[in-house]
Symmetry: C2
Subunit: 328 residues, 2 copies
């Protein structure tokens, strides 16, 4: 979205679920910067990476509530111009530990939320942040949207069910299947929210980066500003309604190489070392996986702008200015 | 399954969820006839078509419980040789009226059930009865398994989520996507369990058969004994584990023609008349839809044996002997 396009959000009422989380807060702040009146709905579910500090000092309004709580959510979405549904359990490990809770948070609460939306009839298509993890183990690479989904855990099933629930909306939501995202405001303190935040935390603290299983598996990684861009342009593109689109990066590389680049870019410059898979991680390993975003380029005119080394540098710089986000 | 193959169930312990329902009870009785020790688990959820009379006079043991009730279900499935998961909300109309309840019954309870199975580790792959309705509106006909699913209502999303949950099982369940099924023990009294049972009830009562929307849309219909056969052979075919297969009929015809055949075969011989779609039915209409079972033929060696006119005659004959099942 050009700066001019971002101004199209000026004066609009926007709702961001999960808006205290990593991606959600970056979207909320970008909308507020563009002049939108932004309300975030976030339950601050323990372990999901939500942090009220993420929107501190901004004009973003915060409603602490479950997205399925009709009393809290209906007044917020009624009359909204844009809805961004970015809430959700993102930890596959936590999902494996308590599948029913994961399913409840990602699918059942979302069903309730969509019922609230249906009645409130906000304007425009809702944008839903899904994940490339719905594909499971790739049969072909890069993953395109016609690759059959076959999730490998309950978290993936819940996310896929959430996609299909979104597609039932009268207008059809825009479904974005995100690759691994990193950047400012990511929750770095936990070990179960993905491999990249663990790499960044260890790099910032000067601790060795441990790569499991040899690190030969490739990934594509997205700097969060590229993701924010995709989400905003999706909301402004009527033809995107009812579409399912990968949001990934054409630059993909082995996890070992990602670890090396992150470690080398950190002032502390810690070593990268090999480790064995912890048992509960091995269960959700899917080999190399990266996606093609050519459909998103066609429909949205979007493509990622930030190469990995640049995104890493910007991420380390932001956290260096916010040591409370990775220390202790 | 030949008679000899059916004897392979002799002395085995079999569990059938939804075993008081239409398909479930036919499976349970067939297993009991083959000499299996059969336990059905059925919550007799109001409006689902379950009826304790379905297994009256048989050796089938009945446990009235929700499939997600670990205290009731764990002892039943522990040490079981075969598990047939045939429970579930089958009414799209009821699902539209109370989506959250539908989702809870079809997806959330199933997640709990599968957790129970995972711990109890019964032998062999579980057979799960899904529905061709997970495909939604067909882009091509006949529907094959590589047609992307795109459910058109919450019931379809819940069934699809249930499939993906089943595929997470260590061995992988066998997923059978059933076309419209009819036959003995079907619940005929409600209007929201499909068009065929309504046709049969009206034919038996001598009431006009009302066909909505012109009746030009085609369907394939399966006599329940063909479905029982598919389910039993799936349980005896190790290569079927983790496969998703259509179970349909190569004979497909316009709904109007089906109504005519049913009406003509009934002694009462009522007329077939045109009617307008009730509003809540129109929401889930998907046009012509029928599936190819060639994958099931390849993997299971199964194909339907009962042509529609023969199945209709047998169904009417059974109900004529059980007037309490459609009268009053």
């Amino acid at each position: 979205v050009s700066a001019a396009d971002r101004r199209r959000f000026s004066g609009t009422r926007c709702v961001v679920t999960g808006g205290l989380g990593f991606i959600g807060s970056n979207v909320a702040l970008a909308l507020a910067d563009a002049g939108a009146e932004v309300t975030v709905v976030d339950a601050l579910v323990d372990g999901h990476g939500g942090d009220a500090a993420n929107v501190d000092g901004s004009a973003v309004r915060v409603v602490i509530a479950d997205v399925g709580d009709v009393g809290a959510v209906a007044p917020v979405v009624t009359g909204a111009d844009h809805v961004f549904d970015l809430a959700g359990q993102g930890s596959h490990i936590a999902g494996a530990r308590d599948p029913e809770r994961d399913f409840d948070l990602n699918a059942v609460a979302r069903l309730r939320f969509l019922e609230i939306l249906r009645r409130a009839r906000p304007g425009g298509p809702t944008v839903f942040a899904s994940t490339r993890q719905v594909y499971g183990r790739p049969a072909t690479l890069p993953l395109t949207e016609d690759h059959p989904p076959r999730p490998t855990d309950v978290n993936g099933v819940a996310k896929l069910a959430a996609e299909y629930l979104h597609l039932l909306q009268d207008d059809g939501s825009v479904i974005l299947r995100l690759s691994n995202v990193y950047g400012p405001r990511q929750h770095l303190r936990r070990d179960d929210l993905g491999v990249l935040p663990v790499f960044f935390r260890r790099a910032l603290r000067g601790e060795p980066l441990v790569v499991f299983g040899g690190g030969a598996d490739a990934r594509d990684a997205l700097y969060v500003e590229d993701v924010v861009e995709a989400i905003l342009v999706a909301a402004l593109t009527p033809e995107a309604a009812g579409r399912v689109m990968n949001i990934g990066h054409e630059e993909h590389m082995a996890l070992w190489r990602m670890a090396e680049l992150i470690a080398a870019a950190s002032p502390a410059g810690p070593p990268v070392v090999a480790g064995d898979w912890p048992l509960e991680h091995a269960r959700v390993d899917v080999g190399s996986v990266y996606t093609s975003s050519s459909l998103a380029t066609e429909v949205l005119g979007w493509q990622p702008e930030v190469p990995f080394d640049d995104g890493v540098a910007r991420t380390l710089e932001w956290f260096a200015q916010h040591p409370e986000r990775y220390d202790g």
